[in-house]
C-alpha cells in the first residue's frame, strides 16, 4: 500500500483530501465533494458548458498524462451538435515506468475522478463517462467501483443529476496488461474490446472517438484536477504554476532518493530542489549521476543539467520532457548500459507491433544492447543503436516509437564514453539483469 509523504514546499490542491478517508462518499462530500459539479450546474443550462470550458482554459491546466495539451482547449474541440453520442473517457492506464501518481488518486480520492468525469461530461454534452484502469490496478478498480456505486446510491449519478435535468452515467473498465493502451486511441480500441492498437489520426477523438462518437479523453490526474479548478477559479489555479503551465501536479520521485514518494508541487518547481530538498537528496549520500525526469520515455539529464524548472516548456528547452511527472533518480553506481537496456526491454515488450520501425527497431536495439551488456559488444554497436533510434524517431505510427527512441538517444549520446568503456572492458559491472526472458507477450 502506498505510503503518503509530505513536504512543506508542496501546494496541496489535488492531494488536498489525501489521507483523510475521502474514498468514503460522506467524507468526500464533507470535504467539498460534488460541490464543483453543482457549481457548474448552477450556471444554468445555457451558460454551463461555456463557463466550465472558460474556467478550464483560464486555469492553464495542461494534460497530465504527459503530452501537456491544454485541457480547456481540448474540451472546446468537441462539436456541440453530434448525431452520435459523446463520451468522456478517463485514462487510468498508468503504465509509464517511474509513474504512480494516478495510483494514489484512485486510492485516496476516487470521487474526485468521478466528479471530474461529470464536469467534463457537462462541458461537452456527454451522458456517459468511462473510467479505464490498467488491469494490474484491480484493488483500485474495486475502490472506483464502490465509489461509483455509492455515487449512484446518493443519486449523484444517473438520472437528473443534481436537479439539472441531465443524466450522467459512469462505467468503470479494466485493462489486461498493455502499456500501449495508454495511448488515447489505443485505449478506445481496448475499451471497444479490440487489440490495443492505435488509430489513424486524423480524425481525432474529439471528432470521432469511442464508438465513433466525439470523445474527450483525459488522464486521471487531469480529470481529478477539474473539480478543484472549478471551486477555486481558473485564474487562481493558474497563478500557482509557472507561465503557460497552470497549477500544480503530482510528481512521483523514485529511485535513489532518501524519501521517494508522490509530491504535489507547483508547476515550474526546480528539479534539483525537488530531488535534494523535497525527496531528501540522493540515497545513502551517494553522488548523483543522472535523472530521468518524466517517466522512462524522457531523455536522461546528467547531474549538471538538473537545475531546471519542472514545467512543459522549461523541460522542453532542456532537451527533455516533463512527461508523466515520474522523476527517476540514478546515483553514481548505476550502469547506464544496463539502465538503457532495461529501458528498451520495456518498450520492446510493450510495442504493439503494428508498425515496422517500432516493432523491429525496439527489438534490434534490445538485441544489440543485450549483447553489449553481456560483454560481446563492439564500438560500432553504439553507432548502430544510435542509427536505429534516429530512424525510429518521428517515423512510427504512434508515439511509442519516439518513447523508445528518445531515451535511447539520450543514453548513447550523453553517456557514449561509458558505453565505449564498457565495451572495452574497462567498466564491467556485475550485471543485475541476469536472465531477460521478456520476449513477446507470452
Amino acid at each position: 500500500m502506498p505510503t503518503l509523504v509530505s513536504h512543506p514546499d508542496e501546494v496541496k490542491v489535488i492531494s488536498r483530501r489525501f489521507g483523510q478517508g475521502a474514498a468514503d462518499i460522506d467524507k468526500y462530500v464533507e470535504l467539498d465533494g460534488y460541490k464543483a459539479v453543482q457549481k457548474a450546474i448552477a450556471e444554468g443550462p445555457e451558460k454551463m458548458s461555456g463557463w466550465i470550458i472558460d474556467t478550464m482554459k483560464a486555469s492553464g491546466l495542461r494534460g497530465r498524462g504527459g503530452a501537456g495539451f491544454p485541457t480547456g482547449l481540448k474540451w472546446s474541440f468537441v462539436p456541440k451538435q453530434s448525431e452520435k453520442p459523446k463520451y468522456v473517457l478517463v485514462n487510468g492506464d498508468e503504465s509509464e515506468p517511474g509513474t504512480c501518481k494516478d495510483h494514489v488518486i484512485f486510492l485516496e480520492d476516487p470521487h474526485a475522478v468521478i466528479e471530474g468525469t461529470m464536469i467534463a461530461g457537462l462541458a461537452i454534452g456527454a451522458k456517459t463517462g468511462f473510467i479505464y484502469l490498467r488491469g494490474e490496478y484491480r484493488y483500485l478498480l474495486k475502490i472506483m467501483e464502490k465509489a461509483v456505486a455509492d455515487a449512484y446510491a446518493k443519486g449523484f449519478l444517473g438520472k437528473n443529476i443534481f436537479g439539472s435535468g441531465l443524466d450522467f452515467d459512469v462505467i468503470t473498465q479494466s485493462g489486461a496488461g498493455a502499456y500501449e493502451v495508454g495511448e488515447e486511441s489505443a485505449l478506445m480500441e481496448s475499451l471497444e474490446g479490440k487489440r490495443g492498437v492505435p488509430r489513424i489520426k486524423p480524425p481525432f477523438p474529439a471528432v470521432v472517438g469511442l464508438y465513433g462518437g466525439p470523445t474527450v479523453i483525459n488522464n486521471a490526474e487531469t480529470i481529478a484536477s477539474a473539480p478543484h479548478i472549478l471551486l477555486m477559479g481558473g485564474e487562481a489555479y493558474a497563478k500557482i504554476g509557472s507561465e503557460r503551465n497552470g497549477g500544480t501536479r503530482l510528481f512521483g520521485i523514485s529511485g535513489h532518493v532518501e524519501r521517494p514518494g508522490v509530491y504535489e508541487l507547483p508547476m515550474g518547481y526546480n528539479l534539483k530542489k525537488a530531488i535534494y530538498e523535497v525527496a531528501g537528496g540522493v540515497k545513502d549520500g551517494k553522488k548523483l549521476k543522472a535523472v530521468v525526469p518524466g517517466g522512462s520515455s524522457c531523455p536522461v539529464l546528467t547531474a549538471d543539467e538538473i537545475d531546471v524548472g519542472l514545467d512543459f516548456d522549461q523541460m522542453g528547452k532542456a532537451g527533455t520532457m516533463l512527461g508523466s511527472g515520474g522523476i527517476v533518480v540514478l546515483d553514481e553506481t548505476v550502469s547506464i548500459v544496463e539502465f538503457a537496456l532495461r529501458t528498451i526491454n520495456f518498450y520492446q515488450h510493450e510495442s504493439c507491433g503494428w508498425c515496422i520501425p517500432c516493432r523491429e527497431g525496439t527489438d534490434w536495439i534490445k538485441k544489440t544492447l543485450t549483447r553489449v551488456h553481456a560483454g560481446g559488444g563492439a564500438n560500432k554497436d553504439i553507432d548502430n543503436v544510435q542509427y536505429l533510434a534516429e530512424n525510429m524517431l518521428g517515423r512510427t505510427f504512434c508515439p511509442l516509437g519516439d518513447a523508445a527512441a528518445m531515451p535511447t538517444l539520450g543514453f548513447v549520446k550523453k553517456f557514449r564514453k561509458e558505453f565505449e568503456e564498457y565495451i572495452a572492458g574497462k567498466r564491467v559491472d556485475t550485471p543485475l539483469i541476469t536472465v531477460q526472458d521478456l520476449v513477446g507477450a507470452h
Binding site: 520492446q348 510495442s351 515496422i356 523491429e360 542509427y387 530512424n391 518521428g394 507477450a441 507470452h442
Partner: protein, 799 residues
C-alpha cells in the same frame, strides 16, 4: 468532391479533394512505395514506406492516409525520404530470411524490389534471425512466418474482402504473427489450419513470399513461365485468370493460376477454382489418343485420320440412310462461342437436324424474350460492383458465382450500396444485405407475383408478411436497381419478375448461370427450338435464309434420349458434355445408337461412345466466351498437350469427312483480297502496327479453316446482339452484349409448351461439374473440407 490543386515533386497536379495522396500520385505516374496500403481495403499506415514530405508538416507523412488539399506541396523522393525507407527495409531484412533464390516470390517480391531500389543491403546485426517452421494451413495455403512482414493485407483481404475472417493478428510487438482460425491445439493433427473458402486471395495480396500456393510452390521461377491471361473455365462469372505456362516434353503445362493481370473484369478477385483448378489437364486419365470401339466391344487407340474417317463416314451413312432427324447433337457449356456456333451450324446444315441441345443451367431463352425490345436493360458484371442498389432473388453467389459475391460485398463496403436479398435459403450474402427476406420453400414464383402486385401471393411467398411488404416497399423505392436472378427462376416466374423489374425505369437485369459459357451456349443457339441469338424458326432473319435448316423445332435433350430408347436415334454427337451422368440417362438407351464423343476423359457418356476424340480444354484453345451477364471476352490459348485437338478443329474435320463444303461451314479465306498494307505504303517495321490496324478493321486474313475468328466474322454478322468490337475483344477487354432477338420476332412461336430443362449444377466452391472430378486440387480441397467439418462440427467459420 471539387478538384483541388497541389504540387508533387514540382509537378502541378489536380485531383478531387479527399483523394488519398498515394492514389493521386499514382494517377499522375508518381509511384509511392507501400507494403500495407492496398486499394479498396482499410487503411493501416503500418509499414511507413509511403512516407513523404508535406510542406509545413513537422514530420514525414504517410501518403496512404493523407488526403490531398488545395495548395499542398509534396516531395516524394528526397534523400531524407529515401533514408527513411531504407531504414525501414533494413529493419525488415533483419529478420526476413534471404532465401530469395528458392522463394516462390523471388522475382516478383515487393520487398526485393524495394531493397533493390533503396539499396538497403547493409546488415547491422550479429544476432541470429528468428526462425519458424513453415506451416501448411490447407492444401492450397502455406505460411512461412519468417518471411512475413506484417502488412496485414491478407487479414483484410480475408475479412473485409471475402467476409471470411479466417486470418487474424496475434501476440504483439516483435512476436506479432498472422494466425489462422484453427489453432494447433484445436486441430486433430495439432497443426494450425485455415477454415475458409480457400480462395487464395491472401496469397495474391501478399507482397512477399510469406503466403504461398500449394499448387505452385517450389515448382518454377516466375521468369521461366509465359503468362497468358485467359478466362476461367469454371463458373459463369467470367473472371480473367493469368496462367503461368511452362514447356514440357509433350506440350506446355500450366503451373500457376493467379490474378497477375488485374485488368480483367474481376479486378483484384479470383476464387480458388480460377486459381488452382487447372490441373485437370494433367490428370493421369486424360485421353490423348483417339479411340474407336472395335468389333469385340473394346475401345482401341487409332490414328486421328482413322478415327475421323470412321466417325465422318458413319455419320454420313446414317444421315443419308435414316435422315438427319435421326441424329442428335449435344454441346457443352465450356465450349467457346465459335465452337458452339459452329456446332449448331454443323448440326443444322451438315447433318440437317434441329435435334441439338446443351445442359441448360439457367433459362436464358425466357430471359432474352422477356427483355426483347428493351435496350440497356441487361447488366454487366461491372454493374455488380457499382450499382447503388441490388436485388438478389435466388442464387447463392458466394458459392456459385464468387466474383458476383465479391463485387456485391465491395459495392456495399466501398459504395455503401443497398443490397436486398430474397432467398429460400439463408445464403451468406445476407450478411451484407440491407434487408434479407426468407422466402417460403418454392416461393420464388409467388414472390415474383407479389412484387408484380398480386397481394394474394403473399402467403405462399414468405411466412413473415410484414417483412415481405417492407421488403417490397424498399425495393420499389429504389430508382437505380440491379436485379440479379438465380437459376431457380425460370419460365413464367422469371418472366414475371422481369416484368416487375421493368416498371422501375433504372432497373437492369442479369441471370446467373453455372459455367464459363453457359450463356454463350444458349446465345449461340445450342437449342432445338431457337436459332442463334434466340431467333425463332420461320422468322424473317438472314440466319434462317442462309442456313436452310429444317424449319421445325428438333428434339430437346430429353427428347433425344427418349428417341434413343425407342430405337429412333441413329447417331449421337456429343461435344464436351456428359448428359448421361447429368440427366441420369440409362446407358442402355444408347445401345443401338452410333455415338461420337469429344472429351478429355472417359466420362459416363464417353464410356458409351463408338468414337472418342481427345479434346483440348478451354485453356488449350482460343476464341471467345460470354459470361452470365452477357459480357464477351477473349479466350487465349495457354497450354498445349500433344495428341489432343480443339473441338473446333474436330467439328470441321468431321464435317469434311462427311463431305460437307468446308468453306461454307467456316468462311475462311474470305478477306484474302483485303488490304495487306500495300495501299497504305506500309514498309517493313510497320508490320506490327499495321496488323493492329487490320485487326481493328476486321480485315485480317483468315487463312485456316480451323481459325475460330473466321467464324466470329459470321457470328458478328448474323447473331443478333453480337455486334462486337474486334479491337476491344482482342485487347483482352470485356464488352457487354445484349443478345436478344428483335421484339417483332419473338411473338411468332407460342412458348407455353416449352419444357423446363434447366438443371442448375449447384456447384460449390470445391466442385465444377464433371471437370471438377479430374482436378486433384479440388478433390484435395473437398477432402480437406470434409475433415474440417468432421473435426469441429461445433467450430464454424465466419458463416
Amino acid at each position: 468532391m471539387p478538384d483541388v490543386n497541389f504540387i508533387v515533386d514540382g509537378k502541378q497536379l489536380t485531383a478531387p479533394a479527399g483523394t488519398l495522396l498515394i492514389d493521386a500520385c499514382k494517377s499522375a505516374g508518381i509511384e509511392i512505395p507501400a507494403f500495407c496500403y492496398y486499394p479498396g481495403l482499410s487503411l493501416q499506415a503500418a509499414c511507413r514506406m509511403c512516407v513523404v514530405r508535406v510542406e509545413k508538416m513537422p514530420k514525414l507523412q504517410t501518403a496512404c492516409t493523407t488526403p490531398v488539399t488545395e495548395g499542398m506541396v509534396v516531395q516524394t523522393e528526397t534523400p531524407e525520404i529515401a533514408q527513411a525507407r531504407k531504414a525501414t527495409l533494413q529493419l525488415l531484412l533483419g529478420n526476413h530470411p534471404l532465401d530469395c533464390p528458392v522463394c516462390d516470390a523471388g522475382g516478383e517480391c515487393e520487398l526485393q524490389d524495394m531493397t533493390f531500389k533503396y539499396g538497403a543491403a547493409d546488415s547491422f546485426y550479429a544476432e541470429p534471425k528468428n526462425h519458424r517452421e513453415e506451416q501448411k494451413w490447407s492444401p492450397v495455403v502455406y505460411f512461412d512466418r519468417p518471411r512475413c512482414i506484417l502488412c496485414y493485407r491478407c487479414v483484410r483481404m480475408c475479412g473485409e474482402g471475402m467476409d471470411v475472417f479466417a486470418l487474424g493478428i496475434q501476440n504483439r510487438g516483435s512476436s506479432s504473427i498472422i494466425a489462422p482460425n484453427v489453432p494447433a491445439q484445436m486441430s486433430p493433427d495439432q497443426l494450425a489450419h485455415v477454415d475458409c473458402e480457400q480462395c487464395g486471395m491472401c496469397i495474391d495480396a501478399c507482397p512477399v513470399g510469406a503466403l504461398t500456393s500449394g499448387t505452385y510452390r517450389y515448382k518454377t521461377r516466375p521468369w521461366e513461365m509465359n503468362h497468358v491471361a485467359t478466362i476461367c473455365t469454371h463458373c459463369g462469372d467470367g473472371c480473367k485468370t493469368t496462367l503461368g505456362v511452362r514447356s514440357t516434353s509433350d506440350g506446355s503445362e500450366i503451373v500457376r493460376g493467379d490474378n497477375r493481370d488485374k485488368s480483367g473484369i474481376n479486378g483484384d478477385f479470383l476464387c480458388n477454382k480460377g486459381r488452382y483448378a487447372f490441373d485437370f489437364a494433367n490428370h493421369g486419365e486424360r485421353i490423348t489418343q483417339p479411340l474407336v470401339r472395335h468389333a469385340d466391344g473394346t475401345l482401341k487407340p487409332v490414328s486421328w485420320e482413322v478415327a475421323l474417317e470412321h466417325a465422318g463416314s458413319r455419320l454420313r451413312e446414317l444421315r443419308d440412310s435414316r435422315g438427319g432427324s435421326s441424329i442428335g447433337v449435344i454441346g457443352g457449356n465450356r465450349l467457346t462461342n465459335e465452337e458452339a456456333y459452329l456446332l449448331q451450324k454443323f448440326a443444322r446444315t451438315v447433318i440437317g437436324t434441329n435435334n441439338i441441345d446443351h445442359h441448360r443451367t439457367a433459362d436464358y431463352v425466357t430471359f432474352a424474350q422477356a427483355l426483347s425490345g428493351t435496350k440497356g436493360r441487361t447488366a454487366s458484371q461491372h454493374d455488380t460492383a457499382s450499382f447503388p442498389a441490388v436485388l438478389l432473388v435466388g442464387g447463392d453467389p458466394t458459392n456459385q458465382n464468387p466474383l458476383t459475391a465479391w463485387n456485391l460485398r465491395s459495392d456495399v463496403r466501398l459504395n455503401k450500396a443497398r443490397v436486398y436479398v430474397a432467398n429460400t435459403e439463408t445464403i451468406k450474402l445476407r450478411r451484407q444485405a440491407k434487408a434479407f427476406l426468407q422466402l417460403a420453400p418454392y416461393g420464388y414464383g409467388a414472390f415474383a407475383n407479389y412484387l408484380a402486385g398480386d397481394a394474394a401471393a403473399a402467403s405462399s411467398a414468405a411466412a413473415d408478411a410484414n417483412a415481405l411488404s417492407a421488403f417490397r416497399d424498399a425495393v420499389k423505392a429504389e430508382e437505380k436497381l440491379l436485379i440479379l436472378i438465380g437459376s431457380e427462376l425460370r419460365g413464367a416466374e422469371l418472366k414475371k419478375l422481369i416484368e416487375f423489374g421493368l416498371t422501375i425505369p433504372g432497373a437492369k437485369f442479369a441471370l446467373l448461370s453455372d459455367y464459363v459459357n453457359s450463356r454463350g451456349a444458349a446465345d449461340m443457339g445450342l437449342l432445338p427450338d431457337m436459332l442463334p441469338g434466340y431467333v425463332p424458326f420461320g422468322a424473317k432473319h438472314p440466319l434462317a435464309s442462309e442456313y436452310a435448316a429444317p424449319a421445325a423445332p428438333g428434339l430437346d435433350m430429353l427428347g433425344i434420349f427418349d428417341a434413343a430408347a425407342e430405337g429412333e436415334l441413329s447417331a449421337l454427337y456429343v461435344v464436351g458434355a456428359n448428359p448421361i451422368a447429368r440427366y441420369a440417362v440409362d446407358p442402355a438407351a444408347l445401345k443401338d445408337t452410333f455415338v461420337v464423343v469429344q472429351e478429355m476423359f472417359l466420362t459416363e457418356t464417353a464410356a458409351l461412345a463408338d468414337v472418342i476424340l481427345p479434346a483440348a480444354n478451354l485453356y488449350e484453345k482460343s476464341g471467345s466466351v460470354t459470361n452470365s451477364y452477357g459480357d464477351l471476352q477473349q479466350v487465349a490459348k495457354a497450354a498445349d498437350r500433344a495428341g489432343v485437338r480443339s473441338d473446333f478443329e474436330m467439328i470441321v474435320r468431321i464435317a469434311d469427312k462427311m463431305g460437307a463444303e468446308v468453306p461454307k461451314l467456316v468462311p475462311f479465306g474470305k478477306g484474302l483480297r483485303a488490304d495487306m498494307g500495300q495501299s497504305r505504303g506500309a514498309h517493313s517495321g510497320e508490320a506490327d502496327r499495321h496488323a493492329v490496324w487490320l485487326t481493328a478493321n476486321n480485315l485480317e486474313p483468315r487463312l485456316s479453316p480451323f481459325d475460330p475468328f473466321a467464324i466470329l466474322d459470321e457470328i458478328q454478322r448474323l447473331v443478333p446482339g453480337y455486334s462486337l468490337l474486334r479491337l476491344q475483344l482482342l485487347s483482352g477487354n470485356d464488352q457487354h452484349l445484349e443478345p436478344a432477338a428483335p421484339s417483332g420476332l419473338v411473338q411468332i412461336t407460342g412458348q407455353s409448351a416449352r419444357r423446363d430443362l434447366v438443371l442448375p449444377a449447384h456447384d460449390s466452391l470445391f466442385t465444377s461439374g464433371t471437370l471438377g472430378r479430374y482436378s486433384a486440387m479440388l478433390n484435395d480441397l473437398q477432402q480437406n473440407e470434409a475433415q474440417r467439418a468432421a473435426a469441429s462440427s461445433a467450430h464454424t467459420a465466419a458463416d
